[in-house]
């Protein structure tokens, strides 16, 4: 009787990581709301920048993670890769939703609209839609193993389409410039010292927090696979 359920115990976020998440998020929160100077032009609502942009960068990180995990899954058909992809996609979608919401909160007072078809926002929104499709496919895709394959293919097709989506949206905007879009202070370039530091804190906090949630979600995925394996094991023992 092959004991195939001796899977290593499901990973849990180490206390160090949880601690790091607490410290960095508090630090980021404090610096974003207090330490960083008020933006002369946009006022205090600009502080949302320290949450909005780091979260967006973290989602791009999640997209890369899901893409690599999907490729590896199709090559090895090892369920562990599929678990990484599932967890990355779900937390990535959560971060993406946060980016869109904070973006809207920031855009309303500054540009007078909850949403503008700014090139970067539009590209981001399309990627967010693909993540929604990924999570939907995850639940409607049918049998476990088929779902894993389909989601892997979807994430690969979505990923290879990113550059072309970027250019299509970019040219679409620049060819017809809409309301002059305030550049969001660039990605840290040309930011005065204290703002740059706050931005860095925000980024670190976002990535560390993402890692925590990602591992928690991964643990759930591993546990549910473990229950399946044990059920299969019990099923086999009944019959032999």
């Amino acid at each position: 009787m092959t004991r195939d359920h001796s899977l290593n115990p499901p990973t849990t976020p180490s206390s160090a990581l949880v601690g790091a998440a607490l410290v960095t998020t508090l630090l980021a929160l404090y610096s974003a709301l207090v330490f960083a100077p008020t933006d002369r032009v946009q006022g205090d609502v600009q502080r949302l920048f320290y949450l909005h942009v780091p979260a967006a960068l973290t989602m791009y990180l999640a997209i890369l993670l899901v893409f690599i995990a999907s490729l590896r899954y199709l090559q090895t058909r090892d369920a562990a890769w599929d678990e990484l992809a599932t967890s990355g996609a779900e937390i990535g979608l959560l971060w993406g939703t946060i980016v869109l919401l904070t973006g809207a909160m920031w855009a309303k007072p500054i540009w007078g609209a909850w949403w503008t078809w700014d090139a970067r926002l539009t590209s981001f929104f399309i990627l967010w839609l693909i993540f929604v499709a990924y999570v939907m496919l995850r639940s409607y895709g049918g049998e476990v193993e088929q779902v894993a394959r389909f989601c892997a293919v979807l994430s690969i097709l979505g990923f290879v389409g990113m550059p072309i989506t970027h250019y299509a949206v970019e040219w679409f905007r620049t060819m017809h410039p809409g309301p002059v879009i305030m550049t969001e202070g660039g990605l840290g370039r040309g930011l005065p010292g204290s703002m740059l530091a706050t931005f860095a804190f925000g980024l670190v906090a976002s990535v560390v927090l993402f890692a925590n949630l990602f591992i928690l979600r991964l643990r759930l995925e591993q546990q549910s696979r473990r229950t399946q394996q044990i059920r299969r094991h019990l099923d086999l023992m009944e019959t032999s």
Partner: protein, 239 residues
Amino acid sequence: MPEPAIKISGLSKHFGPTTALAGVDISLQPGEFLTIFGPNGSGKTTMMRIIASLSRPSTGSVELFGQNIRRAPAHARQRIGFVTHRSLLYSSLSGFQNVHFFARMFGVDNAADRAREILSAMGLEHRMDDKVSTYSRGIEQRCAIARALVHHPDVLLLDEPFSGLDPDATARLQTLLAGPEGESRTVILTSHDLTYGAKNADRVAILTRGHLGFTANVEQIAEGTMPDIYREHTRGNRG
């Protein structure tokens, strides 16, 4: 010992919590005919689909004439004829058009004549030009068997081929299997029907809950004891 026609080693397949196959080993010499009995849900169809390269095993391998089918799947499929519960035909095309299409896909030369020949061998001379959607279950099964044999496969995988066949069609299939179409071929036939299954067989096996519980040469089984052996091996089975 010449290379086995089919060598299945450590074959297992599970779908989430359920295990369809839990370690099956079979080795068949060219021309050998193996019948596998087993109740529904014993993993017969899953195993046949894996051998036919339609499905990927969780563990284990299938070798056809010494070559792993996953290494050269297209080449392996050229030599396999597969019959299963679904006919794999197109309802809005006629029997002839279906079999002719498959003949061309398998690169059979003068595909049209060969298609007509095999369809007639299955007693479909008068029905081959009707649409498959007009066929009864038995006629459709005959047409499916014709599709599986049209390219002179070396290996025949017949998954419960007799189900839905009337006596005449059953007799035709058995004569076909014994005749020029069948005798030089390696055959695995699965069935849960003890009367017809073992008629052409050299060896018999029983598959229960994904295990091969019993295998023996036909000569070793005393006349008429098959039903008792079968009952004994499938006793604790919910299938």
